[in-house]
Symmetry: D2
Subunit: 294 residues, 4 copies
Amino acid sequence: MTGTTIGFVGLGGMGRGMAGSLLRAGHAVRVWNRSPEPVAALVAEGAEPAESLAEVFAADTVVSMLADDTAVERLLLDPALLAGARASLHVNMATVSLALAERAEELHAEHGIGYVAAPVLGRPPVAAAGQLNILAAGDGALLARAEPLFAAMGQRTWHFGDRPSQANTTKISVNFLLACAIESMAEACALAEANGVRPTDLIDLLTGTLFPGPVYSGYGAMVAERRYEPAGFRLPLGLKDVGLALDAGAVATVPLPFGSVLRDAFLDALAHGDGEKDWAAVASVARRRAGLPE
Amino acid sequence: MTGTTIGFVGLGGMGRGMAGSLLRAGHAVRVWNRSPEPVAALVAEGAEPAESLAEVFAADTVVSMLADDTAVERLLLDPALLAGARASLHVNMATVSLALAERAEELHAEHGIGYVAAPVLGRPPVAAAGQLNILAAGDGALLARAEPLFAAMGQRTWHFGDRPSQANTTKISVNFLLACAIESMAEACALAEANGVRPTDLIDLLTGTLFPGPVYSGYGAMVAERRYEPAGFRLPLGLKDVGLALDAGAVATVPLPFGSVLRDAFLDALAHGDGEKDWAAVASVARRRAGLPE
Amino acid sequence: MTGTTIGFVGLGGMGRGMAGSLLRAGHAVRVWNRSPEPVAALVAEGAEPAESLAEVFAADTVVSMLADDTAVERLLLDPALLAGARASLHVNMATVSLALAERAEELHAEHGIGYVAAPVLGRPPVAAAGQLNILAAGDGALLARAEPLFAAMGQRTWHFGDRPSQANTTKISVNFLLACAIESMAEACALAEANGVRPTDLIDLLTGTLFPGPVYSGYGAMVAERRYEPAGFRLPLGLKDVGLALDAGAVATVPLPFGSVLRDAFLDALAHGDGEKDWAAVASVARRRAGLPE
Amino acid sequence: MTGTTIGFVGLGGMGRGMAGSLLRAGHAVRVWNRSPEPVAALVAEGAEPAESLAEVFAADTVVSMLADDTAVERLLLDPALLAGARASLHVNMATVSLALAERAEELHAEHGIGYVAAPVLGRPPVAAAGQLNILAAGDGALLARAEPLFAAMGQRTWHFGDRPSQANTTKISVNFLLACAIESMAEACALAEANGVRPTDLIDLLTGTLFPGPVYSGYGAMVAERRYEPAGFRLPLGLKDVGLALDAGAVATVPLPFGSVLRDAFLDALAHGDGEKDWAAVASVARRRAGLPE
């Protein structure tokens, strides 16, 4: 194993594509995943399978893309694992809380391992194409080391400061804005429809004039057509991300009234059985409130 | 005066440019305004001054662009004026309530005058350039008659149905979405700043990735840089438009929780002296709630 | 007709009992109502029927108890009526907006008629028993003149200042607090039930300890038992009163976030067909949001 | 030491009075507290000091009154402590989350120890007087064993079911209602004041008519007079309790829009330096929103 081996943890929809991008860029990648299938798929693309997390952390650099705080905490914030690691850099690309980012940074420092945060914008197909937008924060020298990896996985790296949690703050803020855009369109479409305007006509106008771009056109179509399956991003994950924003606000005493409305709307959607749908299904709540037909 | 004369009422920032566009397209335009200065300016461009609203309504077609319900009600929904009118079509391009649209349509019908609604998207420079987006609704034959005027004033006409109030619903919905976008960015920027991320960095990321377009870049810059003067659209007008959305929701029993948050935030901004600033100054409320420095 | 005749306008559920209380206290009362039945009933108790509002305003003092701003505006704020009046005092006991109170005071002053506001607390049976709480505001000498009438109709008169609108502000604030208490219990009962606690047990605890009194026990029982019919106070009237609070807040730039939540909840209830139920039926919204069975 | 010894953990403002009540009722009480002063005070009243938590859990019955989930978790949910315990009953009287209640019940069961929840209503002087209201839930036989202790500490025991978390749900719901009442009065007082009505006049009316009882009179006076020090219950504890309600709602998918408003208001108050004041100081937020002088 050469010094350029990358350990990669977490081969879900996103991680699979990201690890694949690293492979295609010529990096040696040693992969680990809780379930074996994605490992096999990546081994077929040239990756080396790791038998354990310890083997992953024997690489120079570890990249991780796990689901949430709980997974990161349980799998990676393990003092024994970090104490035995040969890795000198861990790039955590998951969307995690600020509290976790700070704890992780501290714990890695205790074991002499650099820690940077690099959450991403983009869905699985974008990850597979190596076209993510990467939101990076942490020590400048460490980020410079990580940049070739970012270049393989993303179309652009955006920098937000030298504390890893700054990138997590940014990612949480972006997801908050996505949720706000969905709820805004949900309320506007309910208002339009109840007053005799076709939601699709409203969305066409919006995206053709003031609100171009993927959020208003993509989610707008879903909201206007009430098409929430299959889920691109499941509703409970949306609630989780709204919760990350509210928690980040609580720590810094930032009231987020839109965030509060969002939280209530997501709970309402879950209470009505939308847990397996795309998070845009939160728009069904605005319709139900107004007594519009399901 | 030929049959093609257009009467034009309301030469504010928007109306002035719209009447100018009609002139430049070769229409004969007879103009009226409460204060005389804009009349003189347009006469210099070739318009004919009207001494009274009756003279305006002696034209075939009347186009009006007044400030709000109150102005429309007082100046134009005057049974004596309408009874004496020779005009057979009134194109109301103002942002008014659904209730007013319906009353206006009815009253015009009683006097045998066609009434269509055609509120617009675009600020004064866009109006001056004849590049507005025009949201039209009303009887199809009447809209066909108005289309040459729309072509002179706008880059595109969007249709929303055969009841005039449908265009007003749409316009109110769009302004509601603008206000939602501002408040969303205000909360996100407060969250970012309180957690150590520069708001301008967040806005750059947004507009460079998921949220392109004039709303997020234009208002985003204002919010991130806290630059609310000079006002492009004054804050009390923003409150008025949020109120139009809430009223439209009340009539159709559509709860708008984001709208309710917006209303409270606009009142808060007014209570703190932001009445002369751009409506993006509502973002100062999110900062104040969080105890961030003014 | 002696100088002590009282003209009374508005014999709804409340006004009927109030006029009856005046009669029982020995006052001469001349009554008017839009529909004739309540007039006949009061004539049987000794009242004199008025053929017109002009006859009512020929009495020294007029007491009115109409449904809302619209009724007051249409029936009583009539310059011709006031110009011809012999009355020198009008006691308006209805729940009206601050704007109407101010306009009424001004218009009466123009015609040399004193105007005081005296909205009440209490439901029809309390009015019938002459046990209302009377919230009075206006010129001190006028209130002194009205006090014998208040003594006949109420158990106590509370004073709030020398501008009539101060009493209306107070009444609006009290109704706002009633609505807040209902929504609070609605949310708490939904929370309790969803976590396995019987709402009636919660309400028993509340009223037996920290929250004694008619509001928590009366509305608490309705909410816990989901018993909203027959309506003591219809839901659309509740929405109207919440609207009065929001309007009063808008004029004085007072954001009322609880008021905003209430408005949305009342609209939601109306959208789901609860318009004929007691306003406590707004509690059904909290249950629906949570997916609890109807 | 006989079989009737009670181990008591947590001698804060509440616990001190409760342990004193047990002593006065003739119970043998062995006390433990993190800081030594309250221990000394109770020893002077006849208590036996415990050197360790193990000594407390060597009693037959343990009563605990700790500050929050964190304290309970760290001090009492210790498998080693529970494994070595002789106690067969733990009565947890603190206000804790439903999640903690469930975890605690399970963990105690694993070690053969009965666990019941019995949070209380009442402030320190009420605790000292043995006049608390006790909200009890858990196994019936265990509650029967605890009843003599409840009788010593409280004026009445209220039962909410056989799962301990039901008592915690109830306590959380009551505190939620207290916070709602405070915010309601805060908004109403801001509305009244901004429209020229003295808040004290409004509160006098409320407590003299529809809203008798300690909550509206006690907190009403604090809100109307803006008197938030010394703190009876500190504002961050209020935020914590609102958070418990929101968390309980999240688990059971119960949206709590009033709770969301409360959370934002408490954060706003904290952001403005009110962390050492009574939680009624959240009312200062309603004034600030309205631009009323501090």
